[in-house]
């Protein structure tokens, strides 16, 4: 790893001030950043340690929602009594990602910023990666692209967002709270991650020196009927080929409202409100679930090695909806 300078911030304001030094990044859990620094993909000159600035609490909001501090660890968040009882979808998604050791370090804020696991991005031996070296081309489009996007990709980049948590947060309509040199703002999760377009090097809409302070969840509407289904190459400790987060608000046998988010298919969690609307006010039958799944996958485009993902994602959506509906 290259030499780095290091500052420890004592509060959010000092963190935002310190991170404005040249080539400086925040370090929270460090599980993704240090990995990328060892691979020379990330090359900061200085890290600002934000592990001692607070922001690690999980508290109820006046509206009945929940505020998860950005520095809350994945493991603590997944096992927080209010998250487990009111947002089991988030617990499931968090626990299906990484390993216990990594979840003990990784933070909610950092997970939102987790970078793609595209091998052409992760390994600097590959010359081409528009995300790592803008303008160099995309090695994955014509390369080995089994893990890559089937939705929302561009000619510049076909990488996927690797986070499980983000998929659950998308289904739950989370709002990201950020603070920066120009003040505070709230960003709905649907607008937080970008599609690659012509600037795949930019993953999110965060401005330079902005600090994620919290993730807010709306009042729980999907406590009973949720399911996070992750399909991967081995049963545990692997990234998703595809994943589906399903959340249903049921009125007897009928769906009052539905949320479906797909992971492993695009540069951001994938939602299609029209597909969700298709289920509202209707009984949850297999044919309708399949119709919704197809609407979610509408426009999907496969590459050489990942055509299987389209059918896999379709079936994952149907099964996640069925499992969610069957939950007591």
């Amino acid at each position: 790893m290259r030499a780095i300078d290091f500052d420890q911030a004592s509060d959010p304001a000092s963190a935002i001030r310190l991170v404005q030094q040249a080539n400086t990044k925040f370090i929270g859990g460090g599980t993704n950043l240090l990995d990328l620094m060892k691979g020379d993909v990330e090359q900061p000159l200085r890290l600002v340690d934000i592990n001692h600035i607070g922001l690690d609490q999980i508290v109820e909001l006046p509206n009945g929602g929940l505020r998860i501090g950005a520095l809350a660890r994945n493991s603590d968040t997944a096992n927080h009594a209010l998250v487990r009882s009111r947002y089991p979808l988030l617990t499931q998604a968090l626990l299906s990602g990484a390993s216990p050791q990594l979840r003990n370090m990784a933070t909610i804020g950092g997970n939102l910023l987790q970078r793609t696991r595209c091998p052409y991005f992760m390994d600097t031996a590959f010359a081409m990666c528009n995300k790592r070296a803008p303008g160099s081309g995309c090695g994955a489009r014509e390369g080995y692209n089994r893990m890559h996007a089937i939705l929302g990709a561009s000619s510049a980049c076909i990488a996927v967002n690797p986070s499980d948590m983000n998929v659950a947060l998308a289904a739950l309509d989370a709002v990201i709270q950020v603070s920066g040199p120009k003040g505070e703002r709230s960003i709905p999760i649907a607008e937080f991650h970008r599609l690659p377009g012509t600037m795949p090097q930019v993953d999110t809409v965060l401005h330079p020196a902005e600090l994620i302070t919290a993730v807010d969840l709306p009042p729980p509407a999907f406590t009973r009927h949720t399911h996070y289904l992750k399909v991967r190459e081995r049963n545990s400790y692997a990234f998703a080929l595809v994943s589906a987060a399903a959340a249903l608000d049921m009125d007897g046998a009928n769906v009052r409202q539905a949320r479906i988010a797909l992971g492993g298919v695009a540069h951001k969690p994938w939602r299609v409100p029209a597909a969700e609307a298709l289920l509202a006010g209707q009984p949850l039958d297999e044919a309708r679930c399949l119709q919704a799944a197809r609407m979610l996958l509408d426009g999907a485009q496969a590459f050489k090695d990942n055509a299987f993902k389209i059918k896999l994602a379709e079936r994952a959506v149907v099964r996640a909806l069925r499992e969610a509906g069957e939950n007591a």
């Binding site: 790893m1 290259r2 030499a3 780095i4 300078d5 290091f6 040249a22 080539n23 370090i27 859990g29 460090g30 599980t31 240090l34 990995d35 060892k38 691979g39 090359q43 000159l45 890290l47 340690d49 592990n51 493991s75 997944a78 096992n79 487990r84 009882s85 089991p88 617990t91 499931q92 626990l95 299906s96 990484a98 390993s99 216990p100 050791q101 990594l102 003990n104 370090m105 406590t223 049963n235 545990s236 400790y237 939950n327």
Partner: protein, 205 residues
């Protein structure tokens, strides 16, 4: 001691020459960053060290404190061989910086036994032949200590049927899922699960 520390750093890490002036526009040319003093509490003892900020907790333990029980497998958070406990929580020591753990209580495999007496999990690994080559074993044991504590605390896992319910199920699938962050290339998994079952039954009694 001071020179040994610098040598240890140099064997692990490519140091930028101290006199390398950054070329204009070469923003990624790292400047020389001197070691700085820090204190680590490892296995109950305070250690005054002098380390560059980039030194991982793993390298500090192995190369500087000579606690070589903790193993470097992948060094990228994929194998779990470097697992240690920080304030009782299991972490990958390869993916965290030593400088981030001042004030924390770090426990390595060297600190798991109670004096001359093996901890129950260590005895269970021997009793149930839970290793072959032994390279992953220190990480497996540190991880298992936390795994048992987490199960006793009622935490959920990805295979817990209903995370809304408190669970205290010490089933094989639960143990396998909770130990999935520790790879064993000899494939001693079956006996590792048996050893953890045995040790957890003992500590539950």
């Amino acid at each position: 001691m001071q020179s040994a520390l610098l040598v240890a750093g140099a064997t692990q890490l490519p140091l930028a020459p101290a006199n390398a002036a950054p070329a204009p526009g070469a923003s990624t040319t790292a400047p020389f960053v001197p070691p700085r003093p820090l204190t680590l509490n490892v296995n109950g003892a305070e250690h005054q060290l002098s380390l560059e900020p980039r030194v991982t907790l793993l390298d500090a333990l192995r190369e500087v404190l000579q606690l070589t029980g903790t193993k470097k497998g992948c060094d990228r958070g994929q194998c779990g061989a470097c697992t240690v406990l920080v304030d009782g929580r299991r972490v990958n020591s390869c993916l965290t910086l030593a400088i981030m753990h001042q004030g924390a209580k770090i426990t390595t495999i060297e600190g798991i036994a109670r004096g001359q007496d093996l901890a129950p999990i260590q005895a269970a690994f021997i009793e149930h032949d839970a290793f072959q080559c032994g390279y992953c074993t220190p990480g497996q044991i540190c991880s298992a200590v936390a795994c048992i504590a987490e199960m006793k605390a009622g935490t959920a896992s990805a295979v817990t049927p209903d995370v809304r319910q408190q669970t205290f199920a010490f089933t094989d699938p639960e143990i396998r899922e909770r130990m999935s962050g520790n790879l064993c290339r000899c494939g001693a998994y079956n006996n590792i699960v048996i050893a953890i079952q045995a040790a957890s039954a003992q500590t539950r009694a």
